[in-house]
Symmetry: C2
């Protein structure tokens, strides 16, 4: 069972492991939204947004309901927004290391990309 729990946590973290999906979850934490609104608010390509939403659906992070033409997305559980809040605090608590970490990640990207 412990193994299952760890796999579950890892799957959830993977679901959230992308800035776009974080942005989606943050938007949904405020209120339910149809997919199109998310595209607009977050400035995403339609296909790209839909793919990220598919990931969140597969991992059960969001639920959907259809209303006519549109599909409304909602956070399945507010604890997920709560976790994002904890991480915001964590970020500021360790501000300088956090920024440094991001810089290092960016450099690593650049090195790979060239």
């Amino acid at each position: 069972m412990d193994d299952m729990l760890r796999r579950f946590k890892a799957e959830l973290f993977r679901a959230l492991a992308h800035p776009t999906r974080i942005a989606i979850v943050e938007a949904l934490a405020v209120s339910e939204q149809p997919a199109g609104s998310l595209n607009l608010i977050l400035g995403l390509e339609q296909a790209n947004a839909s793919q990220h939403l598919a990931v969140l659906r597969a991992k059960q992070v969001v639920s959907t309901r259809r209303s006519g033409n549109q599909i409304y997305y909602a956070l399945r559980d507010p604890v997920l927004a709560e976790i994002l809040g904890l991480l915001r605090a964590y970020f500021y608590t360790h501000l300088s290391e956090s920024i440094e970490m991001l810089d290092v990640m960016k450099e690593a990207d650049a090195a790979t990309g060239s």
Copy 2:
């Protein structure tokens, strides 16, 4: 700044997005450990464990101190353990869907692997 925060959160989630790294964090939540103990307790190959530890170091999830021959790992902030606790509760709150999600992920793996 919001962008930076989202990138930060995504990086952290990526750091945690593996069952082995979850297991490491859970072990360190109890107490600081040298790398070798982690290998033993978790039954990991030395190289594999070291690679996972490198990920956690890069994302600043853990800190290290050397004592003679050994390198002790510790969780940098208990809030990370707290988050794992929230996810445990989340898992049980949505038990049947959670298990179903894991099954679907397993099937997807099997489909890809064959």
